[in-house]
């Protein structure tokens, strides 16, 4: 297994749309395992393929307190949405930023597992929020897209500066 590089906003590759997975092979399983490891290490509760620059429609999620209940969803789609609430969200691709987002409280999901079998289930609470957040990634959307452009601009400046700083530090260490 390996820790993958997570793209940071405003990286344009975060705007790519993921492609439907057709081959359920060892390579897909390896991607899922690497994404889970990357997510746990971050630490995060959800990660989408687009965030690690892979075009396959795959998200990994674990909202359990003990980090022992991983969920891998291939080609996921939301069939039904009910209710609405607002909760602070954060994103591994937009580190350090937390903003309220309105999401459905209860959803019905259809997806495939890593063997290609179709699964359907209902989700609420944090799991529902997390699934909606990750599915947006697969369509190139970010949770800060609904903020005012001024606010988004400020976030962009902040993250660009931090990433520049991190790069300089890395170069400094290499020298």
């Amino acid at each position: 297994m390996a820790i993958l590089n997570i793209l940071h906003f405003p990286d344009p590759r975060l705007r790519n749309k993921a492609q439907v997975v057709k081959s359920f092979d060892d390579d897909l399983r390896k991607l899922a395992a690497d994404m889970l490891e990357t997510m746990y290490q971050a630490p995060g509760i959800g990660l989408a393929s687009i965030q690690v620059n892979d075009p396959r429609r795959l998200v990994v999620i674990d909202v359990s307190e003990n980090h022992d209940d991983p969920l891998c969803l291939v080609n996921p789609e939301i069939l039904e949405k009910h209710g609405e609430h607002k909760m602070d969200e954060g994103c591994l691709s937009v580190p350090g930023v937390y903003e309220p987002v309105v999401r459905a409280t209860d959803i019905k999901v259809r997806a495939q597992n890593l063997d290609g079998e179709i699964i359907e289930f209902e989700a609420d609470d944090l799991l529902a929020v997390c699934i909606q957040h990750e599915l947006d990634h697969l369509d190139g959307k970010l949770f800060i897209d609904n903020l005012s452009s001024l606010k988004r601009q400020r976030i962009r400046k902040k993250l660009e500066k931090e990433d520049r700083q991190a790069q300089q530090d890395a170069v400094g260490q290499a020298l």
Binding site: P43, S64, E65, M87, D88, E89, G90, L126
Partner: protein, 436 residues
Amino acid sequence: MNGRTPDPGNPRVAAARLLRQLADGRSISDLLEQGLDAVSPRDRGLVKEFCFGVARWRPRLERIAAQLLSKPIKPKEGEVQALILLGLYQLIYMRVAPHAAVAETVEAARLLRKAWAVGLVNALLRRFQRERETLLTLADADPLSRYAVPDWLFRRIRTDWPDQWEAILQAANSHPPMSLRVNLATNSREQYLSLLAASGIEAAPIPHVPSGLVLGTPMDAESLPGFTEGRVSIQDGGAQLAAVLLDLQAGQQVLDACAAPGGKSGHIMEAAAVRLTAMDLDQRRLERVRQNLQRLGVTAAVVQGDAAKPQGAWADRQYDRILLDVPCSATGVIRRHPDIKLLRRAQDIPALVKIQGEILRAVWPLLKPGGLLLYATCSLLSDENEVQVRRFLEQAPDARERVIMADWGHCRPTGRQTLPGEATMDGFYYACLEKI
């Protein structure tokens, strides 16, 4: 999605997370060592108060919570359970404005992303406020809830201390004082008292303990005058009786066989110019012993070893004095470590009794004829104390008890016991054994 809460430094968020891990069987001191990084220094005291307070009163808080919940919180939602107990703790025991306690605890549920629990926590805490008197009366009808003590411990203490069990259980839930040990090798207790007075720090002598002082209000150790120079140490008065009972003379060979973290080792070196071997099983905790001795400016042989299986250089020597502060249930120091009530199980006691007996029998041959072994625990349970010592005396023909004549504590069939809260002290047991 990022799993971090927007505000990991929020004191109630931090406390709920720490308290959830406490349920996994980790000790508060362990948890607080790593768990406070995200919390600002200003709020760390508050988080500690939350954690110690909820640990101390957990059985009582859980009883009240159970009356307010139509069905128990699922085990996997440990953070929500912890938040509910924390909310009740603030309302019952803390001087936080009730509306703030409720609002802040509800906010913490939101920050922990427990959207489903926000309404529940709010409704539960508000209902407690309305029905407070009834709920408390109901909860306190049961002594297990009133004294916030697990059933097995309640039974044992009531059996072992038929006249004192209520006072013991009450004292176990009180806030312990901060006690000091004045280094009598470098200054007298009176000299150090005037040094404290000059710094505006209020303190009083501990009765029966020549080196002991108790502070009016707890404070940071580093801020005590002369602390870094070793003029004073933090130690409970009851623990300071060990070095006194050892009756030390300069030049003696002394073994402290379960030394970590080294409080009593330091005291031994302050009391007389002896040749001390400070030993412990745990290599990591021996580092604490070294630091303690270094701060006091004394030297001793600090060695790793298993007191139950003597071997190596330390086991080839014969000793004039041996301090055997054996691993125990720590039921005498619950007021300082309330998580003992949650972590200790009834089945731990026989295992501890077994290892204590093994250590006592294994170390006894290292004592010179005419030498003195001090058996010590911070337990209140007779199985670990007088029963253990009596069994040893029956089996060892060359051992006899030197009865402790003292005006502190309680005389037991063998040995002597301090009870928590009496003369500021924790609960310690001591028995002096002489080799014929």
